[in-house]
């Protein structure tokens, strides 16, 4: 008699780390293959395109520096968003928090530019972090108080923050000397972050923050409480965690790091405030944080790779005339594959005979009765 066979997925007791990494790498390779098909549709040679992308990101010292400049905001914003995500607080408001951080820092840069450089820069960092943190605190307060859906509120606040910066740029802060062109005046030199080894000093901040956030999340009581809330809010409640306070602190930190990104971008990259200041970092950081499974050291790695993808992406854009949107499609494809691969990290497959399945079902039903 032929037994009918089926494949069943069952949950693994404990996914091995090496195996998990292997599966994720397989997913990225599959994503690259899928992207190759897409590139073939564009009548281009995928190998060529990938080679040029690597060259575009790391081909010369200048391009490598540019890649690092792109990676800095991603690292810091991903760290911030990662803290919120660890708590299962879906902070999609990175864009708004970056914009408001940049706004507050720019206020000092524009109106107190005669302060000595270290004092001014310190004030700008502080203002950026506080503004970003407070902007994030609004949805966090609603969430902690009434359980208001934070997905939507953080997102709506992006639009409000960006409209506010637009208002300043086209209205009260518009530089009269720019002759009809709607832009805010450039910062004076003492409001611009210094360079170290050819790249602005933000990279030092980023590296330090990776270490600080890693220690905070893994080796402090608060960090542990944040993770417990993320696992199960009831467990946290029974364990005596002050849930409201922890949510507010974690989100203040999350938004504060995004606000710092705003300060860095305004000061070191754009040398002024503008609507384009966020550059979509708030959204990209969601992807990088998730790809890195919210772990600080992995965030560093993934952010640099993603920055390379962006920088290489804009290079192939000029070489092959591929539109910018193609890079977005590639990002989406990669994340789809990695998201799908999580299933194979968490579950394993076994072949079972149909009648055994029925038996097993009976047994579980029996157990439930007990």
């Amino acid at each position: 008699m032929i037994m009918p066979m089926t494949i069943r997925a069952i949950k693994k007791s404990e996914p091995g780390r090496v195996k998990a990494a292997f599966i994720r790498i397989c997913a990225i390779i599959l994503a690259l293959i899928a992207s190759s098909l897409f590139i073939l549709l564009l009548d281009l040679n995928p190998a060529d395109v990938y080679m040029k992308m690597v060259q575009g990101a790391f081909g010369t010292a200048y391009r490598t520096r540019e890649t690092i400049v792109k990676a800095i905001p991603l690292v810091i914003a991903s760290l911030g968003i990662g803290i919120a995500f660890r708590m299962q607080f879906w902070n999609i408001g990175g864009e708004g928090q970056i914009a408001m951080g940049a706004f507050a820092a720019s206020f000092f840069a524009l109106y107190m530019s005669d302060l000595p450089r270290p004092v001014l820069l310190f004030l700008m960092v502080l203002a950026g972090m506080i503004a970003g943190g407070l902007w994030a605190l609004i949805p966090a307060f609603f969430k902690a108080q009434w359980g208001t859906n934070e997905n939507i509120v953080t997102l709506m606040m992006n639009y409000i923050g960006l409209k506010w910066v637009t208002y300043l740029q086209y209205g009260p802060w518009r530089d009269p000397k720019s002759l009809g062109f709607p832009k805010i005046a450039n910062f004076t030199d003492n409001a611009i972050l210094p360079k170290l080894f050819g790249v602005h000093i933000g990279w030092v901040f980023a590296l330090l923050l990776v270490v600080v956030v890693y220690i905070f999340m893994n080796h402090t009581k608060k960090g542990y409480e944040i993770a417990v809330i993320g696992e199960s809010i009831n467990t946290a409640r029974y364990a005596g965690v002050n849930i409201k306070k922890t949510i507010l602190i974690a989100i203040m930190l999350s938004g504060g790091l995004c606000g710092l990104v705003g300060m860095i971008q305004a000061s070191a990259v754009n040398n002024t405030l503008s609507v384009e200041i966020t550059g979509g970092v708030g959204y990209t950081a969601i992807i990088t944080a998730w790809l890195a499974s919210l772990s600080a050291p992995v965030i560093l790695l993934v952010s640099v790779l993603f920055a390379a993808l962006l920088e290489g992406g804009s290079y192939i854009q000029t070489v092959f005339g591929i539109p910018q949107a193609a890079a977005e499609i590639l990002q989406g494809l990669i994340l789809f594959f990695v998201l799908g691969s999580e299933f194979f990290v968490r579950y394993k497959f076994i072949l079972v005979k149909k009648h055994q399945m029925a038996d097993r079902h009976k047994i579980t039903v029996g157990e439930e009765v007990h």
Binding site: N151, I152, V153, I160, Y167, I329, G332, F336, L339, F343
Partner: protein, 311 residues
């Protein structure tokens, strides 16, 4: 009076894309799936509907392709979250990024093109006999384009489906307690797939309304955040298709109020008026969450993957 009538009629037009997207997300969330990719699916529908409309000049084909495009986006979401049990929030966000890349890419040569004459004629306002002549109500509700009428019909059909048919009852059971629905013999996976795809198709229609009728031209990011407002409107409408009708038109009114206020000579910065829909959305969400009640709660199974073995 005339000004009020024209404002309300315009609010309904502006609310129609929101209505389709909201209905789509309601049906998706009723199956227990929180798909935050509404914006992405709308964009995919907007560009595909416009492209097919431009090349064929056929309204039915244009709408059909917009629906298929939205459903394809939803299929990616469904496969990842239902079959592979990926995180719904992150998958939905990725779908939005992917959808906006996809539509920018496909539509790059079409941006700025105007919807073809034939289609614009097809979707011109049409007064319904008798109903269109009722004072006040007639010009507001019944002198609209075919798409708006389709919106009325879709809400009512979905409402009847959800509350009056056994399929609708099964669907609500799947969203509330998939385990119990499964035990009662409902095919949970099938229900989730079908309704997530249907929801995506409706979102695609909402996008097509923007590019084919409302603007009517293709712009980059033509949805401008409406997909997200639709996600909030689902909460505002408490997952009820009839209330979605009201919510969508209310927000349609907010969308156009800026122009009207400036028309009245009141001097408010355009940028502050632009913030209005977002501010109101936040306020609505906060108020809804403050006065929580059982009937206003989301489906209990929302956001969680269903896996028979982990029941």
């Amino acid at each position: 009076m005339d000004a009020l009538i024209s404002f309300l009629a315009a609010a309904i037009v502006a609310g129609t894309p929101l209505l389709f997207a909201t209905l789509g997300e309601i049906i998706t969330e009723r199956a227990g799936n929180l798909n935050l990719g509404v914006e992405g699916m709308m964009l995919m529908g907007a560009v595909m509907g416009f492209m097919v409309g431009l090349s064929t000049g056929n309204a039915a084909l244009a709408l059909l392709s917009a629906m298929i495009a939205g459903a394809c986006g939803a299929l990616i979401f469904a496969f990842l979250t239902i079959t592979l049990r990926a995180n719904q929030v992150v998958t939905g966000l990725t779908l939005t990024i992917f959808g906006s890349g996809f539509s920018d890419f496909i539509g790059q040569d079409l941006v700025g093109k105007i919807a073809p004459e034939g289609l614009r004629l097809f979707f011109r306002p049409y007064s319904i006999p008798v109903l269109g002549n009722i004072p006040f109500i007639g010009p507001v509700l019944f002198r609209q384009d075919a798409f708006v009428y389709l919106g009325y019909a879709t809400s009512i059909l979905l409402g009847v489906y959800l509350y009056k048919t056994s399929w609708g009852m099964n669907l609500r059971a799947v969203g509330e307690n998939p385990g119990a629905a499964d035990a009662a013999g409902v095919n949970v996976t099938l229900y989730k797939y079908v309704h997530t795809l249907l929801g995506g198709a409706l979102c695609g229609l909402g996008g097509a309304y923007l590019s084919l009728v409302y603007v009517p031209a293709l712009q980059e990011g033509v949805t401008a955040g409406r997909g997200w407002i639709a996600v909030a409107l689902v909460i505002f409408a408490t997952w009820n298709p009839y209330k979605a009708l009201f919510g969508a038109y209310l927000f349609g009114g907010l969308d156009i109020i800026g122009f009207r206020i400036q028309g009245l000579g009141i001097n408010v910065s355009q940028y502050f008026i632009d913030m209005l829909p977002y501010l109101v959305t936040i306020t609505v969400l906060v108020v809804v969450s403050m006065r929580k009640s059982k009937e206003k709660a989301p489906p209990k199974g929302l956001g969680n993957a269903y896996f028979r073995e982990e029941r």
